[in-house]
Amino acid sequence: MHLKYESQLREPLVNGRKTYHDVTEEIIRPIEAKPGRLWYMGFYIAVALLLFGVYSVYRDITYGIGQWNLNKTVGWGWDITNFVWWVGIGHAGTLISAILLLFRQGWRTGVNRAAEAMTIFAVMCAGQFPIFHMGRVWLAFFIMPYPNSRGPVWVNFNSPLLWDVFAISTYFTVSVLFWYSGLIPDMATVRDRAKTKLRKYLYGVAAFGWTGSTKHWQRIESLSLVLAGLATPLVLSVHTIVSMDFATSVIPGWHTTIFPPYFVAGAVFSGFAMTQSLLLVVRKVYHLENYITIGHIEAMNKIIVLTGSIVGVAYLTELFMGWYSQSKYEGYTFWYSRANLFSPYGWSYWGMMTCNVMVPQIFWLRKARRNIFITFFISVLVNVGMWFERFVIIVTSIYRDYLPSSWSVYYSPTIWEIGFYLGTFGLFFTCFFLFSKYAPVIAVHEIKYVLKTSGESYKNTMGAIEREPVEEFAHEYAH
């Protein structure tokens, strides 16, 4: 008796003839083994970057953010660029877990756990930038509305910057809950096969006493479905609100109604690119090629080419509107500050165009979508391009404003701005390395769940059944 049926046209999601036990064994093995030399090397580099970041931030606190090259005209530079960039990267995890869950996309099971973890770490990195940009970081709690002895003076609920506070903290909380509630059963799997006392103790704590009861599974499925339903509009709202930080202003280049969908598409685009970069390494290092298959990579590449083309359309629409509005300020921003290669920041615009719009078009070719090296190369380029995009939006819009006397000289970051950015890379990768060592990088129970419908050996069995004559089929299986 087969409980579910899936078309033979779909590629298997799990390759090889696997039993449930093989799945457990292969995914959990890296947790139980000592990490390899590559892991240590990567981890130490990440920690070194993190320490440099911590030192840069220490200097920010001690000397103030005057040590950055921001000025009156370019008041937002690398810090906010990095903030938006990281938040964008933090969109793929929830998109994979939530939207693809609602759309019943089976392939999400191989990649969702790592993508969700990546989301959480990226949002953690993103949060650092606005917090330290405040300058007096020890007063950062002022952004929360709470009864206080200063009036009470409340925060301004009409301000997009405050919406951001709520959006990002909510997004972070919900992502953590979503991620961890899915992790509980897998932690229990690790706990139940643990050989050492320490591991039994730690995973015993982390697994919350999970037993695998049918009632609990029923509840956790209901929970993840509703959380997915909540997280889907949430993930769209977060980058919509981030885009409103810009779109509700009156700065040419920011003041556009196209921003929310354009930012969301860009966020998904960069998030998937980052997921690709990380998972291509993870599947190689942990030998998970059977679970993160070429089919998974191709599916993500399809999303990359789709969202990349959406941002491409948005870029062209902006250029068109820059001309069509006949506003000389809009025209100057779009056609001189950005699209003119020989303007001071023209390089960033054309870097963005190349990396985000032109290069990913190669994914229209099936061969390229299924090539690991091309995919890795392009996923890195896309993230570079998306960084350029945020830089273009922020800096090229403000470095020459309405009054030429207040135009900025060429803004470039100091070593401490760069150090802060590198530090968030350190934070991100330190967290990711620890995650990949101590938690199953693939959702074990979800793979088991799709194994019988989408595993290679089971698909072959189903194929054999399909080829049988109808009468025989009815005789054999219908009763």
């Binding site: 008796m1 049918t214 129970h445």
Partner: protein, 196 residues
């Protein structure tokens, strides 16, 4: 919590599990629970469990969040400290929608997860009796509660004839207690007791 006697039958695939669940139920035995390594769809119906109302709880938490945000912001910006922003209305509902939405989601998500943990008794340092260590790996473990009248050997035979690859009798605590998984406590020690 009291200790109870359970008959445990382990199955190695869900194709054998489903008919077995049906037969055990029709034979009049009380299935305490079936422990599975992943969610087996339809098993809850086969066992006669009712639908969970967790989503209803989520809805209630959600509207609590909506009400909190709307109420809080209105009170702050129209009554407690009205700000004149370019002469615009104090009750600026469209500008509050983002925060109202975020708090709705936040309350619903946090509330649901806590309710879920409460209902399933999940928390750090919570310990329960595990009938089979492979229940989180590759075995489907059916646990049947014994009454005074249950003939344990018959039941074990019945399970085996229905595809169980392993059967067992265990006396165990049925609730949860505070404990650590690296230490055996009294509650789990008394595992295999041969029925009279």
């Amino acid at each position: 919590m009291a200790k109870k006697k359970f008959v445990v039958g382990c199955f190695d695939n869900e194709e054998a599990l489903f008919p077995a669940v049906k037969k055990v139920r029709t034979a009049g035995y009380k299935i305490r629970d079936v422990y599975t390594p992943f969610p087996v769809h339809g098993l809850d119906h086969a066992m006669g469990l009712r639908e969970t109302s967790l989503h209803t709880a989520g809805f209630i938490y959600g509207i609590t969040g909506t009400a909190t945000a709307l109420g809080g912001i209105s009170w702050i910006l129209t009554y407690d400290w009205p700000l004149n922003i370019g002469g615009k209305p104090h009750f600026a509902l469209p500008a509050w929608i983002p925060i109202i939405f975020e708090l709705t989601v936040l309350f619903a998500a946090v509330g649901m997860v806590y309710t879920f943990c409460y209902l399933c008794q999940l928390a750090p340092f919570v310990k329960k009796h595990h009938f089979h260590p492979r229940a989180t790996d590759d075995l489907f473990v059916m646990v049947i509660e014994c009454t005074d009248k249950t003939n344990v050997d018959d039941l074990k035979g019945f399970l085996t004839s229905n595809g169980a690859i392993e059967t067992d009798v265990q006396v165990a605590e049925e609730g949860w207690w505070w404990g650590r998984y690296d230490k055996d406590d009294e509650k789990t020690l008394e595992k295999k007791i041969v029925a009279a």
